[in-house]
Amino acid sequence: MTVLDFDARAADGAPPPPGRRRARRGGLLGKNPAGLLFSAPYLVFVAVVFAFPLGFAVWISFHDYFFAAPGADVARPFVGLDNYTSVLSDPAVRRSFVNIGIFLIINVPLTVGLSLVLATLLNQVVRGRTFLRVAFYVPYVTASVAIVGVWLFLFNGNGLVNEILGPLAPDPPWLINSAWAMPSIAFFVTWKQLGFYILLYLAALQNVPRELYEAAATDGAGRLRTFWSVTVPAVRPATVLVVLLSTIIGANLFTEPYLLTGGGGPNGASASPVLIMYQRGIEQGTPGVAAALGVVLVVLVLLVAWLQRRFVGGDES
């Protein structure tokens, strides 16, 4: 539009308006050129750590690529969509997407519901507030490897959970049961990440005007009605964030199937796309296939995130 305007004025022979040079500089560098200077480090960071690897991954996904020694004489021919065909026709990959779908269906609603309810309760607690907040946050900051060890002891065939459940315990046990392996991982991740999302909701709850609660009380609303009609709508921006973050983090699931179910077992029932990317790209020396899988995963996550933002975000978007 700027170019068209300039051409029109030049054709008219009209002089540029006062301050035009300043406006043009403002158009190129923005209203605050110093802002570019301050944001440059982050832009460089994004370019180096995000844009370059992403672009490189896309490039790799269209080639028969493999990691080689510097100076090694190797061919990495362009293979078109072969890697994508290989990924989409691989039953293990298709199953991993189903698995991650099951994971997200359990994990995301559970994360949103539990973290919102617990944050609301924690916001009202007076005694022991700090202790409780720290208690919920500790699993989040503890290394997954350490916690996985504890869960393995809890959920194995002779573990505490089965001892308590007795005859109700599933057979085979949780982590080697094809029906329970992925839900078990989803529960584990929900519990581990809960502290972080509670923190987000606690921050959001601080911004809910007290008047809304007072008005609800005046209108005779009970605690449940107040929660549903005041708290839930008031923290909707935080809910959108929690849904998006838990989806993105969940879609990148790796550590739990790698450690908790011994490499995506039983029989691939808990394999995630990222675990398959690791197997194909690092263990089996086919980064092209792994990169294609990664690109497919990114596209699907973006699609899901867009749908979530559209349907959960409402007017906030």
Binding site: V58, G71, L152
Partner: protein
């Protein structure tokens, strides 16, 4: 703001793609490794991080450095990582691999070779002759498809059946002559061990999905059953035959009857007395030591064979000479020094692992006389099968593991169909270059 954001994003993406294209455009650079004209000078080496091998490595380096002041070795343990193979693969890509790595897994060698990370030892004048004179016919398994050696066969850990004598006695079995020679005997013994309450599990190999787990359940028994047939021969999978089916049915029976554990045990089930038997190599002797009253017998077969006819999986670790090495002539000399008869003897004494040298019992008679527990392993070392040196080796083993996990461990689907399906897929993988 939105338009500027989009412009910025587009610029960043374009920059990323352009940089990527630039980085990816070095396809035709020359290089790669041949060691015949390598220089001389200081070198670096990596060795394994277990205590016994570190002790051997330190004395070897000290002995070499004392005699070669102008060609010093700087040694360190392999850096920590998810696996040694991933660390080495990353070092090759980064161009900072050391000259020698005394822990190169044969399964990773085809990939390292494809990466241009390994020097062909055959390029040295005495390369082939040194390897073949030291290791004999067994060296052939370590040749690449075109007959070159990109690894020096170093040491093996031929696996056998370890059993807990106390548990066998508690189950009323003869601990000195346990009935474990045939599959039927083994199964009956396993049933007795578990039903008597002497052992929670008869045997507990790891049931997890990693590609290498079949080396410690299927492969030793398949090697024994077939008299030393590798998983892939002449580019074709071999295991979808009667022998493979027999071995698969044997293991499936163990899992179905609850004699082997379907859950991963988080430590060593044999050491913790959770399993009465284990499939392990001679490294375990020093580990179990006095804590377990153990015995060892050869791998069982369906019909039973004399011990001197039984093959097993080698569980070998080899030595690779890497192309990032500047002083490859020195590295080759160090490699020969480290695998000399004297150093092999010291390796045997220090670690209990078997140097891949012809006539091991005859070469070190004093050691085996003084350590009779190792004698059977020394004899077994002459009859081992290695993972085949083929393209896509890891993918091949992962394919088998996936089929095994489904059909044998968890008993889903038809066994024969699962083996045949895996074999067909492996034929395709092994045929790729």
């Amino acid at each position: 703001m939105q338009r500027r954001t989009r412009v910025t994003a587009a610029v960043l993406t374009a920059a990323g793609l352009l940089t990527a294209a630039a980085c990816g455009g070095d396809d035709e650079t020359s290089g790669g490794g041949g060691g015949e004209d390598g220089g001389r000078g200081d070198i670096t080496i990596w060795y394994s991080n277990n205590e016994a091998e570190v002790a051997w490595g330190e004395q070897m380096v000290e002995a070499w450095n004392a005699e070669h002041p102008d060609e010093q070795i700087e040694a360190q343990e392999i850096p920590a990582g998810a696996s040694s193979e991933e660390v080495i693969g990353a070092a090759i890509t980064a161009g900072n691999a050391p000259c020698l790595i005394f822990n190169t897994a044969p399964v990773a060698v085809p990939d390292f070779e494809r990466q241009g990370g390994l020097v062909s030892l055959s390029s040295f004048d005495d390369g082939d002759s040194y390897i073949e004179e030291r290791s004999g016919d067994i060296a052939e398994q370590y040749q690449s498809a075109d007959g070159e050696y990109f690894q020096l066969p170093w040491k093996s850990n031929p696996v056998m059946i370890f059993y807990n004598k106390d548990m066998f006695a508690a189950a009323g079995l003869d601990p000195e002559n346990p009935p474990l020679a045939t599959h039927d005997e083994f199964l009956e013994t396993a049933r007795t061990l578990v039903s008597s309450g002497a052992a929670p599990m008869a045997i507990w190999p790891s049931p997890t999905s990693e590609f290498f787990q079949n080396w410690f359940d299927f492969y030793p028994l398949y090697a024994a059953e077939t008299g030393g047939t590798p998983l892939v021969e002449d580019g074709s999978a071999t295991f979808a035959d009667d022998a493979g089916l027999e071995v698969a049915e044997f293991w499936k029976t163990l899992y179905d009857e609850g004699l082997a554990g379907r859950e991963a045990y988080q430590a060593d089930a044999f050491a913790d007395a959770q399993a009465a038997m284990a499939i392990v190599g001679p490294w375990a002797i020093s580990v179990y030591g006095e804590n377990v009253n153990w015995g060892a017998v050869p791998i069982p077969t369906s019909e039973g064979k004399p011990a001197e006819e039984i093959y097993t999986f080698s569980d070998a670790k080899n030595i690779g000479l890497y192309t990032a090495c500047e002083n490859q002539a020195t590295a080759w000399d160090v490699l020969k020094f480290a695998t000399s008869e004297e150093q092999d003897g010291l390796l045997l004494e220090t670690t209990g692992q078997m140097p891949m040298r012809q006539d091991l019992p005859g070469t070190y008679p004093d050691y085996f006389a003084a350590n009779p527990a190792y004698e059977a392993f020394g004899d077994q070392a002459a009859r081992t099968v290695e993972v085949p040196n083929i393209p896509n080796s890891v993918a091949v083993w992962q394919t088998l593991r996936d089929a095994w996990s489904q059909s044998v461990i968890f008993g889903e689907g038809d066994l024969q169909e699962a083996l045949q399906g895996a074999a067909d897929e492996i034929d395709g993988l092994a045929g790729q270059s």
